[in-house]
Amino acid sequence: MFRKILVANRGEIAARIIRACREMGILTVAVYSEVDRTSLHVQMADEALPIGPAASRESYLSIHKIIDAARRTGCSALHPGYGFLAEDAALARACDAAGLVFIGPTPEAMERLGSKTEARQVARRAGVPTTPGALDAIADLAGARSMAREIGFPVLLKAVAGGGGKGMRAVESDSQLDGAWRDAGSEAANAFGDGRLYIEKYLPRPRHIEIQIFGDHEGHIVHLGERECSIQRRHQKVVEESPSPVVDPALRRAMGEAAVRLAQAASYRNAGTVEFLVDDSGRFYFLEVNTRLQVEHPVTESVTDMDLVKIQIRVAAGEPLPFRQEDVTLRGHAMECRIYAEDPENHFFPSPGRIVSMNLPEGPGIRNDVGVTSGWTVPGDYDPMLGKLIVRGGDRAETIARLSRALEEYSIAGIKTNLGLFRRLLREPEFLRGEFHTRWLDEWLARPAAPEPPAEAMETAAILAAVLAEALPGEARAEAAAGPTDSRWKAQARADQLENQPRR
């Protein structure tokens, strides 16, 4: 087993990996940018090395600096987490070259499955259903038009190098194709340095359901059931659960076996996720493979009682998978909310700043995977995810009731978060019935919010709290009640002048 591992990430996932290592008796080395000196992952690691300024390109995205940090501290392996360099085959190759074990798949598998068109080809060959459409990049607009007519509108233009909805456009009819082709191409070129596009059939109201897979050096590949990830805002997952409300044992087996076939075809090793779209009639279509640990891996851990990070490390160290397919059973239900520093009341603006106080929910069935602490200043330089709340229960209804209870206990003061969005979502009958698809949340957010029922006593309580908060002396309290820049900011927010969107 490894003696020391470099954790090439920050935030909650770095803390998650460090916890797994600590439980395995493995030393950890954190790396940090200038603004992360006092962050949780630096506190938790056994060693910590600065790797540059706030800008990711000069710190968390610098393969050179990260490999150098691993070498200087005598690490024998590196865990990339998710995001940053996690799906960059160049990091995996640099690890090989430096004599470090990269805790993840081989660079060849990363490259093959990282190309969306190549992954579709692998899927087809493995007999895994894919949406109708191209298996290769489309050469030009004419090619796009002829393919679109062949499979029939609506279609989806997607970036070959893509992910996260970047370089993607839904096209309803022939007349929109021209503009969409141009926009998607330039967006893809900006985001990935690769403007190539392909086309697939657009499914109007699909669910996003993914299968967790695991492979070892001996070629054993298993799946750990599904995660339902249809609750997305602008192609970003927000709530995930397992099992899916629409997956029965037969569908689970079919999807699981398809995912395993695909992974076998790509000689896949370590943890990965095969994403599918599922239509109303339960037909599933391969979407893409994520060649890394997912943000939402804890929901699978909760229903399988396995620690995926520990298994990742064991498999990377050459150990065989410690279980077989027939040993994997799902028990109970789990759901995860991604807590973001953003303002759902105001176009989901990012909301970096100082966390004045933070109360996490506790008690039965609660898991907090959080990357920030009370008193810490969330920098504006990285992804706005503060952490995840994962809840498990005996069944979906208990899990949702528990999650509601947990969200009432949760509070973060000083910055805006999307906690209120989840509280509202968990009262929505369609959500409670499990009736949703990948665009459901965007549509739901666009609906006028139902007026809240009158609650005179709550108003009175708020009035009294407001008066005491405003009038009482006390430095600490005053600090909680008035971030200096905050009020100016809110004045602006109220004016409703802004709109935000994922970076292209």
């Binding site: 106080s357 504006g380 000083g414 910055i415 008066v467 002048q497 709109e499 935000n500």
Partner: protein, 164 residues
């Protein structure tokens, strides 16, 4: 002490007097059977006729954002002895100041100084937390002032531009 509180669209006058072990409150002249205790900074336990509420002041300034249970309310508190003009009064109808909604970097300036702008038109793009955030004009008019340029870092609340 006496305060005016505006909450959920209504104005209330509130009196709070310290007594042994707590406070006596009146709202709009009516005594309230309430016991309020600050548990930790910004967190208040309030017992109202035996009902228990946990009120959290999650962000502050002129407009306090308060959560009670899963209910979120905005309260504006003012001291009736201090006559102060509201932001609305201070802000000239004709001049709208555009402030940075978050710390970040000016990625693009989309409209030049002196150019006409539509209501809702994007004026510039700030990058923060891996997101591009378009800052839009609150009204139709002319971009009278433009105080930032591309690649410049800005703090939250910093004045970016003025539309007249």
């Amino acid at each position: 002490m006496k305060r005016n509180v505006r909450i959920e669209g209504k104005n209330h006058s509130v009196e709070a007097e310290r007594r042994a072990g707590g406070w006596d409150f009146r709202i709009d002249g009516k005594p309230i059977d309430a016991d309020a205790a600050e548990i930790s900074p910004g967190l208040f336990s309030i017992l109202l006729e035996g009902k228990s509420f946990l009120a959290r002041v999650v962000s502050g300034g002129a407009r306090l954002e308060i959560e009670v249970g899963s209910r979120r309310m905005i309260a504006e508190v003012s001291d009736p002895r201090r006559s102060r003009r509201s932001r609305g009064e201070l802000e000239r109808e004709g001049h709208q100041r555009i402030l940075a909604p978050m710390p970040g970097k000016i990625l693009r300036v989309l409209v030049g100084k002196g150019s006409p702008v539509e209501a809702g038109q994007a004026i510039l793009v700030i990058e923060a937390m891996k997101m591009q955030n378009e800052v839009r004009s609150p009204k139709a008019g002319t971009l009278e002032r433009l105080l930032v340029s591309e690649a410049q870092a800005v703090g939250a609340g910093e004045l970016l531009a003025v539309v007249a």
